[in-house]
């Protein structure tokens, strides 16, 4: 059995939603033309710090935006439904399907409105007992104007994305919610692929999702890594990131299982690698030690060399530190490989990013081209003058040793806390 046939895992369903669109077709068109729009953060809350962000389309929120953990759940289920529908699984396969989903904001204690109500009640009670001359508005708002919502905290307990997905699809297998910050989506796919290889599951639904709300938006804004204009990945004048929201979900199965049921194979997850920098809590290792370990692990997993990679989708957040580390790393190890930075069209979708960008790689491989890296215009010395794609770039199989007819793309993710994840995606080898 060839290494590819032994290690690769088939992708038979994809669902994606972000500012670029709500399905693979519309997302690809936006990635090619750079046509997604940025929104004002004021749609999250009137008091939000007004940095631009890439909002998911309203149509993806089945119940409308709820401003709670339930919003991430809505996006996750939207993408998951589309992926499972495309995979056209039997009821038996769906019932035993494993689920691995990644998120950042979706698992966090962001019930600000519910907590505001409790604080208001306690402050009112204190006021009454001390008979202080305090005005009671009677409408449960605090001086900062946050209206209370008793359902807010309850939503947190009811919105665990993998567990709810397991209920929705009535599965009886493993369900895992992974919260690894910005590598969550990529790690979820990597873990799902490992589970298939180990025979833990025949089918795995995996990916990542994150919707924004006031709390995570405020947190990232206060870390001073936001840009108040359109983000510029790897650009000499980059000033920081734009956040985005979205969800990317794929259905994985072993090649044998997919072929046995005549499933349409959209592409493959050929390899996965992950590592921890153990260097600094927020900044990446300056020599990309962890990133290199993750990439090498993915290449080994796929039985490939650096020369086999035809395209890289970078993490490319447009922060000074991330792009410097990735820029230097790609220039050193992949000097002739086109690098595509896609966050100029989607923003940084946090826990969804690694999963969405894996899907973007699969779409690029299907089309045989990589789009322009919107936002980039001038190479930066501190990023080793890396020049991401500036136009549509044709992709070709890179290695003469690759006798399978596959073209490979590498997708990298770097996370808060020093995590690194690398996925290697392959086309389906059938021309489309």
């Amino acid at each position: 059995m060839s290494p590819f046939a032994h290690n690769a895992v088939a992708v038979t369903g994809m669902g994606c939603v972000c500012a670029a669109g709500s399905n693979s077709k519309s997302v690809w068109e936006s990635l090619v033309h750079g046509t997604s729009a940025r929104s004002s953060a004021l749609i999250l809350h009137p008091d939000a710090m007004d940095y631009p962000f890439f909002a998911a389309p309203d149509s993806a929120f089945a119940k409308g935006r709820l401003y709670s953990a339930a919003d991430t759940l809505q996006l996750a289920l939207f993408a998951a439904e589309n992926a499972v529908h495309e995979a056209a699984l039997s009821s038996e396969d769906t019932a035993s399907m494993g689920i691995v989903m990644g998120t950042t904001a979706g698992s966090a204690l962001h019930f600000l409105q519910g907590y505001a109500e409790k604080r208001a009640e306690e402050q009112t009670a204190q006021t009454e007992t001390t008979t202080a001359n305090t005005e009671n508005t009677g409408d449960n708002t605090l001086q900062s104007g946050f209206a209370a919502s008793p359902e807010d905290a309850a939503a947190y307990f009811c919105s665990n994305i993998a567990l709810v997905a397991a209920q929705k699809f009535k599965t009886s297998g493993v369900a895992l919610t992974v919260a690894n910050a910005c590598t969550s989506g990529a790690d979820a796919i990597g873990l799902g692929a490992d589970m298939i290889r180990q025979g833990q599951c025949d089918v795995v639904l995996c990916g990542g999702a994150d919707a924004l709300s006031l709390v995570p938006h405020t947190g990232f804004a206060r870390l001073m890594i936001y840009s108040n204009e359109a983000c510029r990945p790897f650009d000499a004048h980059r000033q920081g990131l734009n956040l985005g929201e979205g969800a990317g979900m794929i259905v994985l199965e072993s090649i044998a299982h997919a072929k046995a049921r005549n499933a349409k194979i959209l592409g493959y997850v050929a390899g996965y690698g992950a590592s921890a920098d153990a260097h600094h809590f927020t900044a990446p290792h300056p020599e990309a030690r962890g990133l290199h370990a993750a990439v090498q692990s993915a290449l080994n997993n796929a039985a490939l060399n650096e020369q086999d990679i035809a395209l890289i989708n970078a993490h490319g957040t447009a922060t000074r530190e991330n792009d410097k580390v990735e820029g230097n790393y790609f220039t050193r190890h992949f000097p002739h490989v086109p690098v595509w930075a896609s966050k100029g069209v989607t923003g940084h979708t946090l826990g969804a990013a690694g999963a969405l960008e894996a899907i973007f790689c699969l779409l690029a491989l299907q089309h045989g081209t990589a789009p322009r890296s919107f936002g980039f215009s001038e190479p930066s010395e501190d990023a080793a003058l890396l020049t991401p794609t500036t136009d549509m770039t044709a992709l070709h199989a890179r290695s003469a040793q690759n006798g399978q007819g596959h073209i490979y793309a590498l997708s990298t993710s770097l996370g808060f806390g020093g995590g690194n994840a690398a996925l290697i995606l392959a086309n389906n080898g059938e021309g489309k």
């Binding site: 600000l112 519910g114 006031l214 806390g417």
Partner: protein, 323 residues
């Protein structure tokens, strides 16, 4: 086969391929309101019950000063300090000389760093978002514990955080097993960390506290961290008949399942852990039950199934210890 508390029929069908997913426990560490692992075992052997909330001692992480300077410790939130000490104790307990870059980490946590999350929300509500605390936010991110433990223990193999309420520890164990059997780490520190905060409890008591008419209603909320150093089980260990204190114990089945069997229904009636009267109310009950099972297994060769339920999601996780 010995099944604690929830006896009757065999719990669930064992999935195929589970033989290949066996793990071996090389070390264990505990930090808890009750103390360390030895303190937990003594309390268990004595038949102690958990002190009342007002009498419960604070979790003691002073021993971290043996490993880290004070100026570093001051910047580490309580949640991570508990995890750090429990993980270090697991490493010490193993007695193994290991390359830290080959050790992975998986943390199961119901709510991650609750204190920092509430501090961040307070900082927004006390003023405006523009004046909120960036430090609190960065320490409130769910994988903060994994990031800090990886940093201060020098762990460079994959590090993950699994967040799914009371099912988090079983999910973490499943993830650790996947990492090890994929050859991504030589060993994995896998554990549970959960802390309590009165602001969180006051905001959603109906979701955190037992019902007033429940037999668990009098029990206090506790916090802490449990870690196990696990590796892939090997054939030699599988054949070992040495059931002494440090004999390798295999974890052979970890899965989550929705099941309407009488067994599952029984577990769902006891959502706070097998020995909640000993360790109080905590989302990491299943991890504590594993520790107690290990203590019970030290002189016997029994098999234990440690179950945990989440009634809201009608989900059940089971961990089988022993062969």
């Amino acid at each position: 086969m010995s099944e604690q508390i929830f006896s009757a029929s065999r719990p669930l069908q064992a999935p195929s391929q589970q033989q290949a997913q066996q793990l071996s426990i090389a070390g264990k560490g505990l930090v808890h309101s009750l103390g360390d692992y030895n303190a937990l075992c003594r309390a268990y052997d004595n038949g102690d019950t958990c002190p009342a909330q007002s009498d419960l001692p604070k979790v003691d992480t002073a021993a971290l000063a043996d490993f880290l300077p004070k100026n570093v410790l001051r910047r580490i939130p309580r949640y991570a300090r508990m995890g750090l000490l429990a993980a270090q104790r697991a490493l010490d307990d193993s007695g193994l000389e290991l390359k830290r870059e080959n050790i992975g980490l998986v943390i199961g946590t119901a709510h991650a760093g609750v204190q920092m999350s509430m501090d961040f929300m307070d900082s927004i509500l006390d003023g405006t978002p523009r004046l909120s605390s960036p430090t609190s936010f960065s320490h409130a991110v769910n994988n903060m514990g994994a990031g800090l433990l990886s940093l201060y223990l020098g762990l460079r193999a994959p590090c993950h955080t699994v967040t799914q309420f009371t099912l988090s520890f079983a999910g973490a164990l499943q993830t650790a097993s996947t990492i090890l059997h994929a050859g991504r780490a030589e060993y994995v520190l896998v554990g549970a960390i959960d802390e309590q905060d009165p602001r969180f409890v006051r905001t959603c008591p109906q979701d955190l506290l037992p019902p007033q008419n429940s037999p668990y209603a009098h029990l206090p909320l506790t916090e802490g961290a449990v870690f196990f150093l696990v590796g892939k089980a090997n054939a030699k260990e599988a054949e070992s008949t040495n059931a002494g204190e440090n004999a390798p114990v295999q974890i052979s089945q970890v899965w989550q399942n929705k099941n309407s069997s009488p067994y599952a229904q029984n577990v769902l009636q006891h959502p706070f852990g097998m020995h909640a009267s000993l360790y109080g109310i905590t989302p990491m009950a299943q991890a504590l039950d594993v520790l107690i099972a290990l203590h019970n297994m030290k002189n016997t060769q029994t098999t234990h199934v440690i179950s945990c339920a989440d009634a809201h999601y009608a989900s059940l996780s089971c961990i089988q210890l022993g062969i």
